[in-house]
Symmetry: C2
Subunit: 261 residues, 2 copies
């Protein structure tokens, strides 16, 4: 009967780079008998997620499989690779062994694990999935800077910068803090926008925080024309943003404090 | 000379409730010789943060101090308590001992540690502060539901619900996912809004995820008129939100893919 048991698929968030930010639960799974799977961009390529675990002092176990997820936006190509990865993982799960998929950052945001677990469940609904939450990169960045993302009644938003300068400018007026991801393609335009809005001193560029290649740049103007990594982000605060009225306290109570309407 | 050394102030994020989500770095500090400080709402009251550590199997060390931060929006009262807490912590730091402040969730969002560390540094600029990032509640909630906060090109925003139904409705059209915090005072109004917008099935209410008192409600209509905890949040997805054009790839390249402009 025991040989009929299927393994569980575990998504282990490892945080953005500092091995100290791995959670106790992820650490426990990594020490256990689960088969390791980890993403690479091409066959034989490096794995950022695996690198975090290695820097934590763990060696690669005998039971491990790299899964290829190429850097492309071609939906047909992606679907083929996701299916292939899901089939590989599913075969191991059918043998009764748990599979832990190594995730850089947190599984809930822009993670390959979302597609992998969905594809595995599409092949086999009976597969049990455990998702271990982790520290997102922007939270680690804020902690590293010693500056909060939000305090009191503040608001913040996270978006790929690719939606463009107009969208970023509109949201700058709405939020206290913006986290802009994938800034690579339009960093120059973003720097120009912040300069025009007088917010250059309120931004910070961060790359691979918590790793040996960490880079933090507060003087954003210096980055113009520079090549940046895919794993970089821009934190921007807008101390002058328009504030709405805030409703507080018990339900049905109109308001206790805030600016006049 | 050694007796002149001042202690460090360490903000240790513990995650939202599941002791498995404590990071290795926070765990290391908790096992060390640092003096523990933790927030309570009133003298002799419970500490949610301390509770997480206790459920992880750690006992309170002899060197520990509760710090009172009352639930009030009165700025003058708050300032008095922050100063008092900072003075208490500063005295311990002057003795050369490190102080670790226990933080539920993550230090970067809506955390008392922001005020505490600022007040301590205002008293004594020479105090070194270490901020240990942690798993934010909304990331743990998403992992628990097995649903991402954002995938692909999606965007998401975090805000106190108190800005009101109009603000929430406007942002619903802008973001794929909204995380609404402090929903207690206007939960009924939010449920009405989601019903009107046809998004009731895309929302989920979560309270104290990862603790023995965890509560998850997908049938939001059921919550109308119910009393909810301060530590609760609402995740809302808007599958129908308007999408902008996305700029991708290398810098200066116009666009590779996306909807027509």
């Amino acid at each position: 009967m025991n040989s009929q048991r299927k393994g569980r698929l575990i998504g282990a968030s490892l945080g953005p780079g500092d091995p100290g930010l791995i959670t106790r639960r992820a650490w426990e799974v990594l020490q256990g008998p689960a088969h390791w799977a980890y993403p690479v961009r091409r066959k034989g390529g490096d794995s950022y997620a695996l690198d975090i675990v290695r820097r934590a002092g763990l060696g690669l176990p005998a039971a491990h499989t790299p899964l290829t997820f190429p850097m492309t936006h071609d939906a047909a190509v992606l679907a083929r690779y996701w299916l292939q990865a899901a089939q590989t993982v599913h075969e191991i799960l059918l043998s009764g062994r748990d599979v832990v998929f190594l995730v850089e950052g947190d599984t809930s945001t822009y993670s390959t694990f979302t597609y992998l677990s969905r594809s595995v469940r599409a092949l086999d609904e009976a597969i049990e999935v455990e998702t271990i939450a982790g520290v997102p990169s922007y939270h680690a960045c804020a902690a590293h800077l010693g500056e909060p993302l939000a305090e009191g009644d503040e608001t913040f938003a996270i978006l790929p910068a690719g939606y463009g300068v107009d969208t970023v400018e509109r949201l700058l007026s709405e939020f206290d803090t913006l986290v802009l991801l994938k800034v690579k393609p339009l960093l120059d335009d973003l720097i120009d926008l912040l300069k025009r809005r007088g917010l250059l001193a309120h931004g910070c560029f961060l790359e691979k925080v918590g790793t040996p290649e960490e880079r933090i740049v507060r003087d954003l103007a210096r980055l113009k024309g520079e090549k940046v990594n895919y794993l970089s982000l821009l934190l921007v605060k807008n101390p002058g943003r328009t504030r709405g009225t805030l409703q507080r306290g018990c339900r049905k109570k109109a308001r206790v404090e805030g600016e006049p309407e």
